[in-house]
């Protein structure tokens, strides 16, 4: 599957946290925890992106029994988009690493 646009960094983080059903606060704290606080997401950014990912059908509403803590999960389509983006980002890292190594020689 080909994606037309690259994910923004924040979309990438949030999708990476939605490989399991999680609610907003859980997503925010997971990202912070797994990156040792290097990456944080503000609540307004979070809400904007959740709405956008739902619209793209890259995530879906998994459970809304608690309206304050609705949980979301990646769709198959979303998983493919995330995988494609991961490969692209790997290429990006490789590009920079080769360049930096070259500079050291």
């Amino acid at each position: 599957m080909k994606t037309t646009e690259q994910l923004t960094d924040s979309m990438f983080y949030i999708m990476s946290a939605l490989t399991k059903p999680r609610h907003g606060y859980a997503i925010m704290s997971l990202i912070e925890e797994r990156t040792d606080g290097a990456i944080t997401i503000g609540p307004a950014s979070m809400y904007t992106i959740i709405k956008k990912l739902l619209k793209h059908e890259w995530i879906y509403l998994y459970d809304d029994s608690d309206p304050r803590r609705k949980t979301y999960l990646l769709t198959e389509k979303g998983k493919d988009v995330l995988k494609a983006d991961v490969s692209l980002r790997k290429v990006m890292i490789q590009l920079a690493e080769i360049g930096l190594k070259e500079a050291e020689e």
Partner: protein
């Protein structure tokens, strides 16, 4: 000693950051904002505290509000008040900002653009329509069109100005400096235009041009007069 007071807003589209800084300063003085009121905020007297403030623009359906406010609460932002699609929050200094990237910060302004775009477009359209009507009609009908044009223009000018300011906020967030500079130059261009029209009035070129000039001046001056009266009124009352 009064327990509540009112401060004037600089207009969120024009001076959001300045407003938020002022609210922080007032909190340091022991005056905490409790809600929105016509063209400003109401404040309540309390203990002095250092709080930071943020606003977000979003129209929420009934089912969405709880989750939206929960996101903020769990990030340390206390919801203070909402007015339509404008939501005001407070937090302790050091709390992470409500927007954490450039893309969504730009979209914040898209939300408020969406909510006013149609109002502005229809007001401008109505103004043009009334002006055209005034130009091609005569007698009583022309009079009616003239009055309508003035009324529409008085709404259309501040409304378009606000919309332009919001676009400028969006472009600032996106880092499009060129466009922001263009917007900043607009008032000067506009002023030149008005001066040009006034000049033409003295040359008394045509009746409709002078009407147009009067309308333009009215459209700018009327909101400004309201603004000045409001600030004077508040200053005088605040001193008592």
């Amino acid at each position: 000693m009064k327990q509540t007071k009112y401060v004037l807003s600089g207009g969120l589209a024009f001076a959001e950051e300045k407003d938020m800084k002022q609210l922080r300063k007032l909190s340091n003085d022991g005056w905490h904002v409790s809600g929105f009121k016509f063209m400003g905020y109401t404040l309540k007297k309390g203990e002095s505290a250092d709080y930071i403030y943020s606003v977000d623009y979003r129209s929420l359906k009934d089912m969405e509000a709880e989750e939206y406010f929960e996101f903020f609460a769990s990030s340390g932002w206390t919801h203070i008040s909402s007015e339509g699609s404008i939501h005001l929050f407070r937090a302790l200094p050091g709390t992470k900002p409500i927007y954490s990237d450039r893309e969504t910060t730009a979209e914040k302004h898209v939300n408020s653009i969406k909510s006013m775009r149609w109002l502005v477009i229809s007001m401008v359209f109505l103004t043009v329509f009334a002006c055209l009507g005034a130009l091609i009609s005569t007698g009583t009908l022309q009079m009616v069109f003239n009055i309508l044009a003035v009324v529409f223009l008085i709404v259309a000018i501040p409304a378009s100005w606000t919309l332009i300011a919001t676009y400028s906020n969006k472009w600032t967030a996106e880092g499009r400096k060129g466009l922001v500079t263009v917007v900043k130059a607009l008032p000067i261009v506009f002023l030149l235009f008005v001066v040009l029209i006034i000049f033409q009035v003295f040359e008394s070129i045509s009746y409709s041009v002078s009407i147009l000039a009067a309308m333009l001046i009215g459209g700018i001056v009327a909101p400004m007069i309201i603004w000045v009266i409001m600030s004077l009124y508040i200053r005088v009352r605040g001193n008592n």
